[in-house]
């Protein structure tokens, strides 16, 4: 199995709900807490596994806002694992999830230096490195209904821009989406073979703009109203006629 996420940049509206759901689940989960520093101070900061940035692609009038949620890509060739001197960072054989064993971590930051995606953040309160677990404490929880056995970010996304699944299965939803929508990896040239993929914004025609000078409608307001009224009357008559049939 090769578990990971597909994120649709076409439908993501950049609402940060995934980041909040992630923080909520994981701060109280097995990797928690996700420490906050001065949460009510002037410069609140803290550990997040998921961060969303907002970009503008291309120039006016072809410009488009693209929101990019980023968390651990669970890379196939995860350098964060190979650089780790303690063995605290590891990639699971069975499903490819990259995890940190917090009881082994010495907080040297080298894995965070090795990560191009900014997926790892040191918890300054606890002195250990933390990262996205793909909600490993949720996706295998047999006490949850099957549809809830997904990462918190995927479940919460209000536009369904996030998908979770097995990339080793060619017929899984994530594999199909990547195949059909041209899913791609971010910064592939670093060579880590990230598992998570992003779906590019769809090609669509420009949104129609009302052209007032060339109004083609010929009927007057009264004619339109009459025809609407006529339609309504017909509908009522049909409904009345069908009453006896039941």
């Amino acid at each position: 199995m090769k578990l990971g996420l597909v994120i649709d940049l076409d439908t993501c509206v950049g609402c940060h709900a995934c980041a909040l759901a992630c923080k909520q689940w994981n701060t109280s989960g097995t990797t928690g807490p996700l420490s906050d520093y001065e949460p009510y101070g002037k410069e609140p900061s803290g550990v997040w596994f998921n961060r969303i940035r907002h970009f503008e692609v291309d120039e006016y009038p072809h410009n488009k806002t693209v929101n990019t949620p980023m968390s651990c890509m669970h890379c196939d060739d995860a350098a964060c694992v190979t650089v780790c001197p303690t063995g605290a960072s590891y990639k699971r054989e069975e499903d490819g999830i990259v995890l940190v064993d917090q009881s082994k971590c010495m907080g040297c930051n080298l894995c965070a230096w090795a990560c191009p995606y900014g997926a790892r953040e040191l918890d300054q309160e606890q002195g250990v490195m933390k990262k996205c677990t793909l909600c490993v404490d949720r996706i295998y929880d047999m006490n949850l209904p099957k549809e809830d056995r997904q990462p918190a970010c995927v479940l919460t996304c209000p536009t369904s821009a996030r998908f979770f699944g097995d990339f080793d299965d060619p017929d899984s939803q994530v594999s199909t989406l990547v195949r059909e929508r041209g899913g791609y990896a971010m910064m592939p040239e670093v060579g880590y073979n990230p598992v998570n993929k992003y779906l590019p914004p769809r090609e669509r025609p420009a949104a129609p703009v009302a052209d007032k000078s060339a109004d083609t409608s010929t009927g007057t307001l009264q004619e339109k109203t009459q025809s609407l009224l006529g339609k309504w009357l017909k509908k009522q008559k049909a409904a009345f006629d069908s009453l006896g049939e039941r």
């Binding site: 970009f55 350098a79 001197p85 900014g118 606890q126």
Partner: protein, 303 residues
């Protein structure tokens, strides 16, 4: 990259210590300081070990969870940091054995070799990171080794002058080592000036249009901005380079080649201090000039 003082002190002082022990080991093999006695060798070697120890202790200061530092020996097969830790710890019994043996030539060779191995491992911690193009090149280990050897040679000149076992060969070697280190560093400065590596376009996958950051998504500093977002004004970088080269290389070379009067203990001491100061500035630059690719997601167009 944020230039953490603990890591700068670690790489500079430990580097000088390994350099000193390298030359000291070779002094027994070649005819560098034939008159050196076992006692003098041990004193000089002890100074090297003290420098190494200060460095290694300093390196543990940047750990957020030092109680697990012993675990850093566990991933020798993949991690350069682990290799560095293992070789650095093995170095101590080796040097002590070498002391006890009275500078046995086989052990001398081993000490010299091991000193280079540790220097290379330290450098490879940085050079192996594909995320930082200013580090991910062959000049990084070359610089670390040559700078360590230059500092070690300068300190050896000073020690042998004080001990009265100095030979002109040591001076010639020191001058050559400093010149080589200066050359490799200048090469490095020129090398990292060439634009290369990922851009904001490849980082996001939009390679056929301009990309610019609208909103970074966080209100105040994060771990990522503190660790990787370190920025220094270009003018300050250039000044630091000039200081590193003049203070670290040019003035020590002038002092040792007799351009400022025939070299004596004072000259050698001054040269060693200035060289070390120069390497401290150089090491600060090594971190301050390194730009991590995660900055592309924070709006940088290139690294």
């Amino acid at each position: 990259m944020n230039p953490a003082p603990s890591v700068i002190i670690f790489t500079v002082t430990a580097g000088a210590g390994y350099g000193l022990l390298f030359w000291l080991a070779l002094s027994r093999l070649g005819a560098l300081a034939p008159a050196i006695t076992n006692g003098q060798l041990i004193v000089a070697g002890f100074i090297g070990l003290v420098l190494v120890t200060i460095g290694l202790l300093s390196s543990t200061l940047h750990l957020a969870n030092p109680k697990n530092a012993w675990r850093s020996f566990m991933r020798f097969r993949t991690s350069w940091l682990s290799r560095e830790a293992v070789f650095a710890v093995l170095f101590y019994p080796l040097v002590l054995l070498w002391f006890v043996s009275g500078g046995n030539s086989f052990l001398s060779l081993l000490v010299a070799l091991m000193a280079i191995v540790v220097l290379v491992c330290t450098a490879m911690i940085y050079a192996s990171l594909k995320t930082i193009r200013q580090w991910n090149n062959a000049l990084t280990p070359v610089n670390f080794v040559l700078l360590g050897l230059a500092a070690g040679a300068a300190i050896l000149t000073l020690i042998t002058l004080i001990q009265g076992v100095y030979t002109p060969r040591i001076l010639a070697l020191t001058v050559a080592a400093i010149a080589a280190a200066a050359f490799s560093k200048l090469l490095y400065f020129s090398w990292i000036g060439q634009p290369s590596g990922p851009t904001i376009n490849t980082a996001l996958g939009f390679t056929r249009a301009t990309v610019k950051l609208l909103d970074v998504g966080h209100a105040s500093d994060t771990f990522l901005t503190k660790e990787f977002g370190y920025e220094v004004a270009r003018a300050k970088i250039l000044w630091a380079r000039v200081i590193a080269i003049v203070v670290g290389f040019v003035v020590p070379l002038m002092l040792l080649t007799g351009l400022l009067g025939s070299p004596g203990v004072v000259h050698a001491a001054l040269a060693s201090i200035l060289l070390m100061a120069g390497i401290f500035v150089e090491r600060w630059l090594f971190f301050a000039e390194a730009r991590h690719v995660v900055n592309l997601y924070h709006g940088k167009q290139s690294t």
